[in-house]
Structures are given as C-alpha cells and as structure tokens.
C-alpha cells in the first residue's frame, strides 16, 4: 500500500479549510493552507513514485466497493502506472508552481480565499481524474474539473463577459460529457465492466469493430469538449476571462489535456478501430490549422495564447490519432511547461500594465520587465521548435509519426508549426520590442511571481531531455522508425522562417501588417472574426433553441395563467361566487380539455395496441 488516496486528499482538505474558514483567516494562513496542501500532494507523489519504482506493472489500490448492481461492480480504486506517473508529476509539479505564482498575482483581488479554495478543489478533481482506475472515477474527476473551471472562469463575476464565458464553458462541456457518459454506458454493456484493467485487455479479443468505433467516437466527443477540439473548441478562448493563473493551470497545462490523457488511457480501444483513430487525427489536425490561423490575427495577448493552446492540443490529438501515444503525452508535458510560462508571463505583463491586455498598447517592455521577457522568450523558442528546446523534441516526434502515418499530415502540421512560430514571435515582438505605446508605468513583478515563471522557463528549455517515450515504452512500444533528419530539418526550417517573418514584419517593417491586412480584405476579416463560428452557433443552435422553447413550450404548453389571475382577474376570488367564477374562467376548463385529449389519445393507442394481435 502506498496510500495513494492521500494524493487527492491533501488538496481536498485545503479546499475544505479555506472554503469554510477562509473568510476569517489572514492571508498568510490561506496561502499556507492552499500551497501547503498542493506541495504535500506533490511530495507524496514523489514518495509514491520512488516507492513503486520502476512501476513496471500498474499498481492498483482498492479501497471499497463503491456500488454493486447486477454484474456491475465498481470500486473506489486508484491506480498508478507509468502514464499516470507522468500526469501526476505534471499536475502536482506545475500546479504547485502556479499556486505560488497566484499569491502574487491575486494579492490585490477580492475573494482571495475563495480563489484558492476553488483552485484546491480543482486539484482534487484533477488528481482523481488521473488516478481513477475505472471510467466512472475518471468521469467523476472529469465533471469535477469542469465545475471548477466554470467557477474560476466566472471568478470576476462583476464582468458580465466572465459570467457568460463560464456558462459557455459549462454548457459546451455538458455536450462533451453527454458523449462521454454514453460511451461509458456502451463500454459497460459491451464489456460488462468499467475497470480499465478488466475492459482494456478484453478489447483485442472483441470482434465487433462497429461498437468499438462507436465507443471511440463518443469518447472523442467527450475529449473534444474537454480539450477544445473542433467543433467544441469555442469555449476555451472565452475562458480567458478568468484570472491568468487559472488560464495557465486549467486552460493550458492540466484540465484541457485531460482529453489527450483519456484517449491514451483508452489506447487499446482506439487501437482496435482504425477508423476512429483516423477521425481523431483529422480532427486534431484541422483544429491545429484553424486555431493557428486565428492566432495570427488576434491582438489580445491572452487570446493569442488561447488559440495557440487549442492549436497545440490539436497536435496532441494528431499524435494519439496516428498511434504515437507516447509522443502525444510527451508534448502534453512540454506544452504544460512552455504554455504555463507563456500564460504566466502574459499575466506578469498584464500585472505590470495594471490590466492592459491589448498588444497594440504594449511594446518595448524588454528593458522594463527583463525577467518576464527572457522567460517568454525561452518559452516562445520552445513552442516554435527551436532545436534542443523542449518543444523541439516532442513536436518532432509527433511530426515524424504523422509522416509515418500519412505524409500529407506531416506537411500540413509542419506548415502549422511555421504559423505557430510566427504568431508566438509576433506576440513577443509586439509586446517587448519597438516603442512603448501604452500610458501605464510598467513595473517588474515580485519574486513570488517571477520565480515560478523562471523555473518553468528553464523546464521549457531543458524539459525535452526527459525522454517520455522511452519511459512509456512498456505501455506504448516505440515503433523504432529511423529518425529522419531531413524531415526534422524541414520542420525546424519552417519554425525559423516563422520567427524570421515575424521579426521582419513586426520589428523591421511595423507598417507592413496593416497593409497586408487591408490587401487581404475579406479573408482577413473572416479570420480576424474567428471564422464567425460563434455567430454561426448562435444563429444555428442557440437562437432556435431559445425562441423555439419560448414559442412552442412556453406559450403553448405553459399558459402561465396564474400570473394573470394574481394580477387582478381574481380580485373577487375570496367570495364563493369568485371561486365559481374561477371555474368559468376557461383556465381549468382548458386544462381539463387537455387531460381529456391526452386521455383519448392514450385510450385509442392502447385500444389499438391491445386489439392488434
């Protein structure tokens, strides 16, 4: 026994303490509880992993039978294998750093204890998600992180846009959850269990590919919701309304990668259904391209990074879709490092400029906030795939796997890599180079913020030397394909070209972008407005739904006459005559008519059903 349950329990305790007593506690105590609990959890992860070393076999701890019904028996079981180990390190490690950063970032905000309580609750659910040994427990975490995400996005609730964004995230995720829960039911009906260690080994011997494909596609619906893939990606950019540490932790490093983790976890299922894998890969690729193009045109620094996240998640799905699960997880890890830096750095910039997020109001900050600048620079190099940075290794692994699967995917992904380099450095140059265009007086963030960013920046540079595919090879065998240097060189070249182009356009010839935008005209407007996808959803889904339920169900089925009577029709209701008048009002009569009509339909239906043999 390694007492795995302690890992999620620490943050849960933190949540309870801060949630219940936080209002009365001084800030230092809130900090101590919030960060202490996550650090304890991190330490316990380290202790567990070293205790289990080298984790050749999955280590499962069964605590109690959660419930039993018929042949379905689900336990409250936690498990650790090598895949979980990677996730645990990312979640608790990056999580701890971001908690520390939050002390500085949130120091001037109201609802301080509330923020940390939610953040701890999030950690709890995320760890349940990662540790759960069956689909149901995974689903518990899955729903839980969605809920916390909703609470944290809407944290600045005085801003209506923040509340709306929280709502949007929750609703879109419900669609994804719908797919996930349906898949879960199908898994149970097909395999008679929900435990990973019982279901997954059965898959190889199961002949009905149709069902498996259906399960995989439904799981993908869930993953698309959580991990912001087409067509459910729309919530993630809006989610940037939340505080920046939240964007870094939940909407870049951990929660949004849950979909990738889930697909890797269910790898045997996907392995049995090439069609579903193809869908995953294509969806990932499309998302990567589309989000990258949008990223090029945005001016809000957090929006740029948000679309970049969507795009990078697309990469990860390409990886798992072409069967390179370990590459996907590797990229998940390195992405957690460099994207966390980008967001936290952006947070530092925003903090320094007292809330300004528009890059057109920035510029020339290189000298004024140097630590932030270098951190972002390192992370940008990593995401652009500059040789020997973290992103370089993981991204090339994905590109090579894509080439192995289908060369056209490699080319599309490589061009996207070029675009990625371009938009990230566009943001960097607009923010840190040129002349300062804003009015505020920028100031460097305190050590409590810069230190975590610095550590993560170093990880972005050197994290690629943690060879995740090697580590995961017992679970996901390396295909042993040759490391094709030509392909690597091409992708690096695209990355460098992107950087160069950004330098040319935003440092050497700053008037150029405007001219290009004008000359592109309609195309630019289309991309700048994010392909009008939000508007299309609004027109095609939201409006019809609301007006439909208003017209048909509210006016039709819910006559709402009680208000009418209260508002004066029933002023004589107290006398006996009044009561009789009520009877005559037609209201009850019309209800009775409904009852009669319904009854007739029921009777005729049952008569016909009963009469027909």
């Amino acid at each position: 026994m390694q007492q795995l349950w302690l890992i999620p329990t620490f943050p849960l305790l933190g949540f309870l303490i801060n949630g219940i007593f936080g209002r009365r506690l001084p800030k230092q105590a809130v900090n101590a509880v919030a960060i202490g609990s996550v650090l304890l959890s991190f330490v316990w992860v380290l202790k567990t992993l070293s205790g289990l070393w080298p984790i050749d076999q999955p280590h499962i701890e069964r605590y109690f039978t959660w419930f039993e019904s018929g042949e379905l028996s689900i336990g409250f079981d936690l498990a650790v294998d090598r895949l979980t180990a990677v996730m645990l390190m990312v979640v608790t490690g990056v999580g701890s750093l971001i908690h520390v950063y939050s002390i500085g970032y949130m120091s001037h905000e109201g609802g301080y204890y509330r923020f940390f309580a939610y953040l701890n609750l999030f950690m709890f659910f995320m760890l349940i998600l990662v540790l759960g040994a069956n689909f149901l427990l995974l689903f518990v975490g899955w729903e839980g992180v969605g809920l916390c995400s909703f609470l944290l996005i809407g944290f600045y609730f005085v801003k209506k846009s923040a509340t709306d964004a929280g709502n949007k995230a929750f609703i879109v995720n419900r669609i994804g959850d719908f797919g996930f829960s349906l898949a879960m039911f199908l898994v149970f009906v097909t395999f008679g269990s929900l435990d990973f260690d019982k279901v997954l080994p059965q898959v190889a011997g199961y002949a009905d590919t149709g069902t498996i494909t259906l399960i995989c596609l439904l799981l993908m619906v869930g993953a698309a919701g959580k991990s912001a893939q087409i067509p459910l990606y729309v919530w993630l950019p809006d989610a940037m309304e939340g505080p920046t540490p939240v964007s870094a932790l939940i909407h870049a490093a951990t929660m949004v990668t849950a979909g990738v983790y889930m697909v890797a976890r269910a790898a045997p299922l996907y392995q049995a259904s090439p069609a579903a894998m193809e869908v995953v890969a294509v969806v990932g690729l499309l998302t990567a391209v589309m989000a990258a193009t949008i990223g090029i045109t945005q001016y809000d620094i957090k929006k740029v990074f948000a679309y970049s996240t969507v795009s990078q998640l697309g990469y990860m799905f390409v990886a798992v879709g072409v069967g390179a699960y370990s590459a996907g997880i590797w990229h998940l890890m390195t992405h957690a490092f460099f994207k966390a830096v980008l967001f936290l750095g952006a947070g530092s910039v925003i903090h320094a400029l007292s809330g300004e997020q528009d890059m057109r109001q920035m510029g020339g900050l290189r000298k004024k906030i140097p630590i932030t600048f270098y951190s972002i620079l390192f992370a940008s190099l990593a995401i652009a795939g500059f040789p020997f940075t973290a992103g370089y290794f993981s991204k090339d692994e994905i590109l090579l796997a894509a080439h192995h699967h289908a060369p056209w995917m490699y080319w599309v992904a490589t061009i996207t890599a070029g675009m990625t380099a371009f938009y990230v450095f566009r943001a960097l140059f607009m923010t840190f180079f040129g002349k300062y265009r804003g009015k505020e007086h920028p100031h460097e963030s305190p050590l409590v913020m810069t230190a975590p960013v610095g550590i993560l920046a170093l990880l972005s540079l050197f994290g690629g030397f943690l060879n995740v595919p090697q580590w995961l090879s017992p679970m996901f065998p390396l295909d042993g394909g040759a490391h094709d240097l030509t392909l690597v060189a091409i992708s690096v070249a695209f990355g460098l070209a992107g950087i160069g182009l950004a330098y040319y356009m935003y440092v050497l010839r700053p008037e150029l972008p405007g001219q290009i935008a004008t000359s592109l005209g309609g195309l630019y407007t289309l991309v700048y407005n994010k392909y009008f996808v939000d508007e299309m959803y609004d027109a095609a889904v939201v409006k019809p739904l609301i007006s439909g339920s208003r017209q048909v169900l509210w006016k039709g089925a819910d006559v709402g006459l009680i208000d009418g009577i209260v508002n004066g029709v029933g002023t004589v209701a107290r006398s006996v005559g009044g009561v009789l008048k009520l009877l005559q009002s037609g209201n009850i009569r019309s209800y009775a008519t409904w009852v009669v009509m319904g009854s007739i339909i029921v009777l005729v239906a049952m008569g016909v059903a009963g009469g027909g043999k």
Partner: protein
C-alpha cells in the same frame, strides 16, 4: 325479457339524466336531472340483485347528498353564473374526441365478442343468507381494512372542509 326491457329503461334514465344535467342552464334543474340519473343507477343495482346497494344509493345519494346540493344551490345566488356562456369554444375539440372514441368503439364492436372477453363471474354460492348479510360478512372479514381505512378518508374530508370553510379557527 322483462329484465332486458328494464335494463334499457334504467339506462335511458341514467344517460338521459346525465346529459340533461350538463346541458340545462338552470342549476336547480341540473340537480333534479342528476337525481334522475342516480335513480337510474339504483335501478340497475336492483336488476343485479344488489338490494343493499340499491337502498344505499337511494338513501345516501338521492335522499342525503342531493338534498344538500339543492339547499346550497338555492342559498347561493347563481344568476351570474347562469347568464354566462355554457359552452366554450372548445366544442370542435370535444367533438373530435368523441368521434375518435366512437370510431374505436365501432371498430371493436365490428370485431365481435372476443374483443370484449371478460372473466366468467365467480361461482355464486347458494344464497344461504340475504344480500345485505353477505355484504356485511365480506365487509367485516375480508374487506375489514379498507372499510376501516375509509373512515380515515372521511375524517380527512371533514377536517379539510373545516379548514377551508370556517371563518375563524
């Protein structure tokens, strides 16, 4: 033969009375037609040799409840209600409903007797005792519990009407 004649007679009373109850404008007339209808039902009980029910039907419904009804109607001024439209615009809907049920009825009539197969009546033991006595037997042995529980129903109804109607409690 005579049974059949009486059956149709009582049926006519029951149905005709019911229709006129809802169709007349005057509330007092309505109540009187309701009495007719209830008497018809009582007659049907008699045809079925349920003498006890026949008596109860007349004493309780016709004698007790309906007289109370009439008192209430006469005490309360119902002129306003009588002047109102008696039929709402829903009548086409009602007509459609009736037509639908009628169609179904004819459909099954067309299918003949098998469509209405009902259980054979339980074997009636030789009448060792009168109808009333047998009812009492069943009521106080097999149906003791429902019989007793029904008293609770009445208690609730009494409390309910007191709560609703009394001026000051």
């Amino acid at each position: 033969m005579l049974d059949t004649v009486f059956f149709y007679l009582f049926t006519l009373l029951t149905l005709g009375g019911a229709i006129l109850t809802v169709a007349t404008r005057n509330a007092v007339h309505s109540a009187l037609f309701l009495i007719t209808s209830l008497l018809g039902v009582a007659g049907l009980y008699l045809l079925l040799h349920a003498e006890f029910l026949f008596a109860v039907q007349i004493i309780v419904y016709v004698g007790g409840i309906m007289v109370l009804f009439l008192f209430v109607i006469m005490l309360v001024n119902l002129d306003a209600a009588a002047a109102q439209r008696q039929f709402s615009r829903m009548w086409p809907v009602a007509l459609g409903c009736v037509a639908l049920v009628g169609l179904e009825l004819f459909y099954f009539l067309g299918k003949g007797e098998p469509a209405f197969r009902i259980a054979a009546p339980p074997p009636v033991p030789e009448p060792t005792a009168g109808n009333t006595e047998r009812i009492a037997d069943v009521l106080f042995s097999q149906y003791l519990l429902p019989f007793e529980i029904a008293s609770l129903l009445l208690l609730v109804a009494v409390i309910g009407s007191v709560v609703m109607a009394k001026k000051r409690i």
